[in-house]
């Protein structure tokens, strides 16, 4: 406290304090109202999805629309599995997303380890090569990759959905960054104890980098679960379709679309990623922020 404040009398100081309090109260109040209104607007499509998913075939087309379903049709969530082979789609999506996650993580760990902790000829060139892959977008590689798959006779196979995604330069950069933070002394100590480089990676480095590994894994899972264009192109048979594609073909002829069942299906398609997001929000958001990718 300096002299100036000491000169102000007690009463004026307290009225000022109250004034300040009232002001912050009001500004916080206005802030809260604005933010809640915005949040509601953003959530509206989700709310409408949930509301519609509980409506029967007649209530869906009722005007004015109801905000609370009169007779909640929980059966929509059972119906959706019968309308289309959603069980099969779900299985396909799960197989592909899990396989890509494991494969991509493995290749990323190995490459990131080389970049972070090894000294080798051509390291900078290699790094530039990895970096340059981030500039080649999927639109450019789409047609040739399709032609390659056609030649290999891989159309409508799991490997076509999995193999092209087994490397990811963004993942390599993220992991490299965190591998570098582990102190050098640890590696030297391990080496003195006769630990090979690979064993050091598996037994010491990876357990130390669990959080980043988890977020990379989830990130890979999400990207693949949500992927749309590639599965659309590379699968023709119903039995090979993933959830995202199945959802698209769910819209049958005009008018006959069962929006209630359809919204239930859409909700089921979103759910796994949303659940994962709530479980590991923080790291998840960080890895999203660093790559700028949503789906492949």
């Amino acid at each position: 406290m300096n002299n100036k404040t000491d000169l102000i009398s007690d009463s004026s100081r307290s009225t000022r304090k109250i004034k300040h309090r009232i002001l912050t109260f009001f500004s916080n109040g206005i802030w809260l109202v604005v933010v809640i209104a915005l949040a509601f607007a953003v959530m509206l499509p989700f709310i409408w999805m949930i509301v519609t998913s509980l409506k029967g075939p007649t209530e869906v087309f009722a005007y004015p629309p109801t905000w609370i379903p009169k007779d909640p049709q929980w059966s929509n969530y059972i119906e959706m599995w019968k309308e289309a082979p959603f069980g099969r789609y779900f299985l396909n999506s799960a197989i592909v997303a899990i396989a890509v996650t494991i494969g991509q993580l493995t290749s990323c760990i190995l490459a990131a380890f080389a970049f972070a902790r090894m000294d080798f000829k051509g390291k900078n060139v290699m790094f530039m090569i990895f970096l340059s892959t981030t500039m080649i977008s999927s639109q450019v590689t789409l047609i040739p990759t399709y032609l390659v798959m056609r030649t290999l006779d891989w159309i409508d196979t799991y490997q076509a959905l999995i193999v092209p995604f087994l490397a990811n330069a963004f993942g390599v950069f993220m992991l490299r960054q965190s591998f570098r933070t582990v102190p050098r002394e640890l590696e030297e100590a391990a080496k003195l104890d006769g630990c090979s480089r690979f064993r050091f990676l598996v037994q010491i480095l990876l357990p130390l980098c669990k959080p980043i590994l988890a977020s990379q894994a989830l990130f890979a899972f999400m990207g693949n679960w949500n992927s749309y264009q590639w599965p659309l192109i590379i699968t023709n048979q119903d039995s090979m379709r993933t959830l995202q594609i199945g959802l698209r073909y769910f819209v049958s002829g005009e008018g006959s679309t069962q929006w209630g069942v359809y919204m239930a299906a859409a909700l089921v398609v979103c759910l796994p990623v949303v659940i994962i997001y709530f479980l590991v929000q923080k790291t998840f958001v960080e890895s999203m922020a660093s790559t700028g990718l949503k789906d492949i």
Partner: protein
């Protein structure tokens, strides 16, 4: 390690040691490439080869399932000048840029929301989560929901809102004029969360002392924003802008689920036209030419981004 023992006693120890180190480095190089191998293989087959092959295919007439024949630059000339084809292609270019108008709109809205959320109040995290939710949900599922929101009948939610405001109902996605603004609107909604997260990180990296110093000098909140927040957020803004532009050039899922490029090609962008040519008309050569043009456009944006990032470093 592998240095012969009799040599160890000699005076010239340094060349021997450097030889050993060299050998060790060679061994390390070999091992390192083993670690890089899986990624390199995948990149070679599924990134570099296709990128080059794309350019090769673009010089062929290749209508599946028939055999390809070399035509030089004919595909490009055809796209830009053919009487029937070129109007659609030009339209797809215009539509691509029209669609990317959503990016600056998104930027402004997300910045305003980020400024709102940049407060230390309990429970602010809930709102961040809320705004981020559209970003993580699958584009296909979200497009299906918006298809329902934009339903052209009176029970479509947006039409219900119009009716309650005393306005006439709209065909939305079925209306050639409104279809693109509808897609942009959904794009802004689903892309906002990502931008907000980036902006919040940018805002929180600005030292609080700057604001305090300016406040002591009598700055009001508008001039605080103009003279501190805006310039210091510049690089972040630019990053978000270019990444957003590149992503908007790639947009495919929402168009495929909601409009299939229609009505009357009103939402047919380059990325979608590429898909149509390749996988509906099976004209691989022509589609590859579009892919190459799209690629050049994206590289240009990436180059601009790198240039600006360099300059922003000097600024600080």
């Amino acid at each position: 390690m592998s240095i012969p023992t009799e040599m160890k006693s000699t005076q010239k120890i340094s060349p021997q040691r450097s030889l050993g180190m060299k050998r060790r480095k060679n061994k390390e190089t070999f091992e390192a490439y083993l670690y890089l191998l899986p990624s390199l293989l995948i990149f070679a087959v599924f990134t570099f080869f296709p990128a080059i092959f794309s350019m090769v295919v673009s010089t062929f007439r290749w209508n599946l399932p028939s055999q390809p024949s070399f035509v030089g630059l004919e595909n490009y000339i055809y796209l830009f000048t053919d009487a029937i084809e070129s109007p659609i292609f030009w339209k797809s270019i215009l539509n691509t840029f029209y669609f990317s108008l959503g990016v600056p709109i998104n930027l402004i809205i997300s910045l305003l929301i980020a400024l709102l959320l940049n407060r230390k109040i309990r429970g602010v995290g809930i709102f961040r989560t809320t705004f981020f939710l559209p970003t993580i949900t699958s584009t296909a599922a979200v497009s299906v929901v918006w298809l329902w929101l934009f339903h052209p009948a009176n029970y479509g939610l947006f039409n219900t809102i119009l009716i309650s405001l005393g306005l006439p109902i709209q065909a939305w996605l079925r209306d050639p004029v409104l279809a693109m603004p509808c897609l942009i609107m959904m794009g802004v909604w689903s892309g906002m969360g990502y931008n907000i997260i980036i902006f919040l990180a940018g805002l929180q990296s600005i030292p609080g002392t700057y604001y305090e110093a300016a406040k002591i000098d009598g700055a009001n909140s508008i001039s605080l924003f103009r003279h501190i927040t805006w310039p210091l957020l510049g690089p972040t803004l630019f990053y978000v802008l270019t990444v957003g532009m590149i992503n908007s050039l790639k947009a495919f899922t929402e168009i495929d689920v909601m409009t299939q490029g229609g009505p009357l090609n009103a939402t047919n962008t380059m990325a979608y036209y590429l898909y149509q040519n390749a996988f509906q008309f099976f004209q691989m050569g022509k589609a590859s030419a579009i892919a190459v043009l799209l690629f050049i456009l994206m590289l240009l944006l990436t180059w601009i981004q790198f240039r600006f990032v360099d300059r922003s470093v000097h600024y600080e």
